[in-house]
């Protein structure tokens, strides 16, 4: 047990307490395992990596059979049982066949009886919240598998949810809960700094051809230098992102920018304030890309700013839609966000006079809660969509198959969606809804020269 813990602690800094607890629970196969362990925490806190490494060490140092499966993959119970039995009793080969839980328990017990050298069994289930959607007996049986098979067996459930969410009518047996808390800033910096040697070796390999840069790199890249960089980096990014893998990815990306003036010789390695002034802009621009995960090779760095600008303005311009499809989209937005009663007044030239009444004046008083652009889109029929389309389009267009097929194209692109009556388009009872936002449709209107605000009830 001590050997397992000491080998894992360097790999997982700031998780010594968790490793020690796991070691006490399942670190010795000669002692009886607990029936089940529940390990939960936010994503990126090391649940899967820690469990996988722990099971690997147990399997290596002791006579323990381990199985690690993902509950997402087990869309039927049979698949899960086959994976478990294949991992725990691998001698059966292709003849493996398990149909239900009773069969699984029986085969597992029979196989374990023929292999007395196995002292323990460990099962890890990732994304364990999916077990709630499976058959009703899956979760209770897993939690009591130790009793049913009469083996030294432990089931480890990993999830992002606390165990209180696993409510069951008949109740579940007691379980050992272990929480992996999110890392704080000091712990994050320690974790990011733990790969200093790896990063330094990568840099030295990168500049192996350039002698001058190699010497500067060897001299400048020290542990203090790297820690200073991480300190600056976290002061910008820690407010926006707590995910350690994401921070690690972005830190490595920005390190080359931080190192550039030192390699050029314009700034000394110890001048932290000037280095900060140089890196501050790129760090803030990288802040907008923190979750994108878009990889760029080195030769395409010139296009960095152009392609990764995710503002709505650029999106509306870059989205290629034919001319009439743009007008259809605008008509759909107007149909979604205007009341049907206002259509005559908005789209007909001679709509007659409208008398002012106190009731009308009061109803028209605008409050923020009532604006339909804030409430969200409402549904409309295809006839109304086409009527508004013909009203806002100045030229005369025939109702052709090409025009009608654009509606299905917009639905495929998720710019429109069916609310009801998807199968009854012929009858005319199908209702659609516009899914794009106000800013997007304003930009599209600007491209085709149409003023969208002029036709919205909220802005009149």
């Amino acid at each position: 047990m001590e050997a397992i813990c000491s080998s894992l602690e360097p790999l997982f800094p700031c998780r010594e307490a968790a490793i020690e607890t796991l070691g006490e629970l399942i670190g010795d196969s000669s002692e009886t395992y607990p029936s089940a362990i529940y390990l939960f925490g936010h994503s990126g806190t090391g649940k899967t990596a820690l469990t996988r490494a722990f099971l690997k060490e147990c399997g290596k140092r002791q006579n323990v059979r381990t199985a690690h499966l993902n509950a997402i993959e087990c869309y039927t119970t049979k698949i899960m049982l086959e994976i478990l039995l294949d991992s725990l009793a691998p001698d059966q080969g292709d003849a493996l066949k398990v149909d239900n839980m009773l069969d699984f328990v029986e085969q597992l017990r029979r196989q374990a009886a023929t292999r007395v050298e196995d002292q323990g069994f460990l099962i890890a289930v990732d994304n364990a919240e999916r077990l709630r959607d499976m058959d009703a007996n899956v979760l209770p049986v897993l939690l009591r598998l130790q009793e049913l098979t009469n083996l030294n067996l432990c089931v480890i459930l990993l999830s992002q949810l606390p165990f209180e969410k696993f409510y069951n009518k008949t109740g579940l047996s007691e379980i050992v809960c272990l929480h992996l808390a999110q890392y704080n800033k000091a712990e994050t910096q320690r974790i990011l700094g733990s790969d200093f040697q790896q990063v330094r070796n990568q840099l030295l390999e990168q500049f192996a051809q350039d002698k001058k840069r190699l010497e500067i790199c060897q001299e400048a890249v020290t542990e203090d230098f790297y820690n200073n960089y991480l300190n600056l980096f976290l002061s910008v990014f820690y407010k926006a992102c707590r995910d350690v893998p994401e921070l690690q990815l972005t830190a490595r990306k920005c390190l080359s920018t931080y190192l550039e003036p030192v390699l050029d010789g314009t700034v000394d390695a110890t001048d932290i304030s000037r280095l900060w002034r140089h890196i501050a802009g790129p760090l803030r621009s990288a802040l907008t890309q923190i979750y994108m995960r878009i990889e760029k090779p080195a030769e395409e760095v010139e296009d960095f700013t152009a392609i990764e600008d995710q503002s709505v303005r650029k999106l509306a311009q870059s989205l290629e839609l034919p001319y009439y499809a743009k007008f259809l989209l605008i008509a759909a937005f107007l149909a979604s966000h205007n009341a049907a009663k206002q259509d005559k007044r908005l789209f007909v030239k001679h709509h007659g006079k409208q008398r002012k009444r106190m009731q009308t004046v009061n109803a028209r008083a605008k409050t923020t809660e009532k604006m339909s652009t804030t409430l969200g889109p409402k549904s409309f029929s295809i006839d109304r969509l086409l009527a508004i389309f013909y009203a806002i389009l100045e030229e005369k267009v025939g109702l052709t198959c090409n025009l009608l097929s654009q509606i299905s194209t917009l639905v495929h692109l998720n710019l429109l969606s069916f609310v009801s009556g998807e199968q009854n388009i012929m009858e005319g009872s199908a209702r659609l809804q516009c899914t794009i936002g106000l800013e997007f449709v304003l930009q599209i209107g600007k491209v085709v020269g149409f003023n969208v605000r002029q036709y919205l009830c909220d802005f009149m």
Binding site: S43, Y75, I83, R293, E295, C401, L413, L415, E427
Partner: protein, 721 residues
């Protein structure tokens, strides 16, 4: 025809030779008798025009396919390098390498792009590919089964190509054992371990999702999580076909899924760019004798730009125009190379010669002949006309070549002027030049004025660039053609004349400088005159200003630079624009053999208008059915012999929004039944007539014209106004 049979009973085939209502019996275009089956008969296939049509279409289609293949080559190379490169990079964590290919909406070659990618990977033996369609992945179970089955089958297909006995047996064994229910990730892992575990035989497993937006979001998220969980043991690479933008990916995948992938974005060219390439290289190429008129050309590009951005749709429309053109008769088999056309002339029959004589441009040609005997010979003697045809064909082909060269010159000259009055692209200029005489248009005058305002350096550089471009076009595109020498002989002296005029513009600068020195001398002399009084000074200044005005007016036409510039523009206008960029009305005789301009037929057949077609079918059934009992003198008439659905439809057009069913039935009965039974029928309605009426109303409801009202009983609501 039995009047009680409705149109929904089945299909009707009539061969009684009846013509459409409203159409003249003798059609101008003589067409071969169409077979009742959809495939063309032998007598059609062996006709000369069909051979020429097939040859022309094959050439054009190969050219377009080659263009598209070359435009996708760069992106495909990058994509293949990305997939192959993943094998060399080992990732310790569970991160799935993913390529996002931005394909654009309605790209016609979405699937063919991914098919080409699959073939490339197979050729390199670097990966096994599975293409997942969104329609096959309604649930996660279906998605995983399709994925595993596709990868294993893909390997089996690749193995069969090798013709190795041992591998074939292995593939046979694998395939027999595999069932859909057994396709799980565990099965895939064991299969991969057994077949590809050694280092030399390691291959990537590529999963392609061509239509990313159409997938169910939850199925897609779970699939990506499963693939990334297996990245440690199986070398997966994911390829997404994204139609809109990268925000579709970020919107569909939440963070706990997007953190499992490493995304690389690839961009294909935009659809209008692809279309411009097809237009410039294929439709506007001088290699092909077939041409579209300006209106037809504009019509096809209008569908593309305004409706669907579908290059495939555009190509099919062009193919339809080609088909319609050649099926006009055997005379149109002359729409080919000059030497081949000479061979075709001998095969023409008397009817084909009559077709040529009926072309609209043939009449002015006959009228310009002075000799009465020659007029009679041209109109009646086939042999005489056959002797004249080679010269006419040569004039036509030469005209189109010269038109194309002049278009190249004019595109370079006016393409980058401010606001592009005539258009920026070559296709816009093509449409403008063909539709009407371009010299008389206000846009052309505006272009000339802008050219006059250019500075000397800009003007000289622009004209020289246009000359170089045209010269290069002559050398590369025109010279290999059959009539290339004749075209070059006509055009090269004109380009040389323009070049000389440009040289004069360059030299005109020195003369302008020379004329300024006498003015300076004169001013110095005037300054020396003594002034005796204030009044005398005023008189002298007033007189001097008048002299300056007169001198300025005289100087404007006498500036050498201005005169040289105007001469160059005049030369361009007369030699290039006026002679060669003529409208279609001014084209040489029998140009209709080479230009397709019947836009009404194309519009009716390409643009589907379902409501108009339905209205025509129900309002005037004779239009489609061509039977005697349905013939109408006036379309608004109601005859008892019409089909029941047609009668009911016409009656419902006369009603308002709500239709009383009983009144409708009474009107229906009065139209359908005989009048001599009127007295007896008033008592009770014939059950047969009522049944016919009920069925017709049900059919009308199915078609979507009416629905039963929920507020008023025995009433129907009209859905269309």
């Amino acid at each position: 025809m039995d009047p009680t049979i409705s149109v929904s009973k089945g299909c009707f085939v009539y061969k009684n030779g009846a013509t459409r209502a409203g159409k003249k019996a003798a059609s101008k275009r003589k067409r071969p008798a169409a077979e009742s089956s959809s495939l063309l008969g032998k007598e059609v296939v062996q006709q000369p025009f069909y051979e020429e049509y097939r040859k022309a279409w094959n050439q054009i289609n190969d050219h377009i396919a080659d263009l598209q293949h070359r435009s996708y080559a760069r992106t495909l190379e990058q994509l293949v390098d990305f997939v192959v490169g993943q094998a060399e990079r080992d990732t310790p964590d569970e991160v799935l390498p993913t390529a996002a290919l931005l394909t654009g909406i309605n790209q016609p070659d979405h699937l063919s792009q991914f098919t080409a990618l699959t073939q490339r990977l197979h050729a390199q033996r670097a990966a096994m590919v599975c293409v997942l369609q969104s329609r096959d992945c309604a649930t996660l179970k279906a998605a995983v089964e399709t994925l595993v089955f596709g990868l294993v089958e893909d390997n089996a297909e690749v193995e069969q190509m090798e013709d190795e006995d041992e591998d074939e047996d292995g593939a046979e064994r694998d395939r027999k054992r595999l069932r859909r229910s057994q396709c799980t990730m565990k099965q895939l892992k064991s299969w991969y371990t057994n077949n590809f575990d050694s280092e030399q035989k390691r291959r990537q497993l590529v999963v392609i999702l061509p239509d990313f937006e159409c997938f169910n979001a939850s199925v897609l998220q779970d699939l990506i999580l499963i693939l990334s969980a297996h990245c440690g043991s199986l070398p997966f690479v994911l390829v997404l076909g994204v139609a809109t933008a990268m925000t579709a990916v970020h919107g569909t995948l939440p963070y706990h899924v997007s953190s499992k992938i490493r995304l690389r974005v690839f961009q294909t060219q935009a659809a209008p760019t692809g279309l411009n390439e097809v237009l410039d290289k294929v439709l506007l190429s001088p290699k092909y004798a077939f041409h579209l008129s300006g209106k037809t050309f504009k019509f096809l590009t209008h569908i593309f730009l305004y409706y669907d951005f579908s290059i495939h749709g555009f190509i099919q429309g062009f193919k339809y125009c080609l088909m319609e053109h050649f099926f006009g008769g055997n005379a149109f088999a002359l729409c080919t190379d000059y030497s081949k056309a000479l061979g075709r002339i001998k095969q023409l029959t008397h009817e084909d010669m009559e077709t040529i004589r009926r072309l609209p441009s043939f009449r002015p040609y006959v009228e310009q002949i002075n000799d009465c005997k020659r007029i009679i010979a041209v109109l009646t003697d086939d042999d005489y006309l056959k002797k004249k045809l080679p010269q006419l064909l040569r004039d036509c082909l030469l005209h189109f070549l010269l038109f194309r060269c002049s278009l190249e010159f004019l595109t370079e000259l006016v393409g980058d002027l401010p606001r592009c009055p005539l258009g920026k692209l070559r296709r816009e200029l093509y449409v403008n030049c063909l539709n009407r005489a371009i010299i008389s248009t206000p846009e052309y005058k505006e272009c000339l004025q802008m050219l006059s305002f250019l500075s000397k350096d800009e003007f000289v550089a622009k004209v020289n660039r246009a000359l170089e471009r045209t010269e290069q076009f002559l050398v590369e595109e025109i010279a290999p053609l059959e009539l290339g020498e004749a075209c070059t002989a006509v055009l090269r002296p004109k380009l040389e004349a323009i070049r000389l005029a440009v040289d004069e513009v360059v030299k005109a600068t020195m003369a302008t400088i020379t004329t300024t020195s006498p003015n300076e001398t004169r001013q110095a002399t005037d300054h020396l005159t003594p002034v005796a009084s204030r009044q005398e000074l005023k008189d002298q200044l007033l007189q001097r200003s008048k002299e300056d005005k007169m001198r300025h007016q005289l100087n404007t036409p006498t500036t050498q630079f201005g005169r040289a510039l105007q001469k160059t523009l005049q030369l361009i206008e007369t030699q290039i624009v006026q002679d060669h960029l003529r409208a279609l009305q001014d084209a040489p005789p029998i140009h209709e053999l080479f230009v397709f301009s019947d836009i009404a037929t194309v519009r009716r057949n390409i643009i589907g208008a379902p409501r108009a077609a339905l209205h025509t079918a129900l309002n005037n059934p004779h239009f489609y059915m061509q039977c005697k009992c349905c013939e109408l003198q006036d379309q608004s008439l109601l005859v008892g012999t019409l089909p029941d659905l047609s009668v009911v439809y016409k009656l419902h057009l006369e009603c308002g929004r709500m239709i009383n069913l009983f009144d409708w039935l009474q009107a229906f009965r009065s139209v359908v039944s005989d009048s001599d039974h009127e007295e007896v029928a008033q008592e009770q309605i014939d059950p047969q007539i009522q049944a016919r009426f009920t069925r017709a109303v049900a059919e009308l409801q199915f078609l979507g014209y009416i629905k039963m009202s929920k507020r008023k009983t025995d009433h129907a609501t009209r859905l269309t106004w």
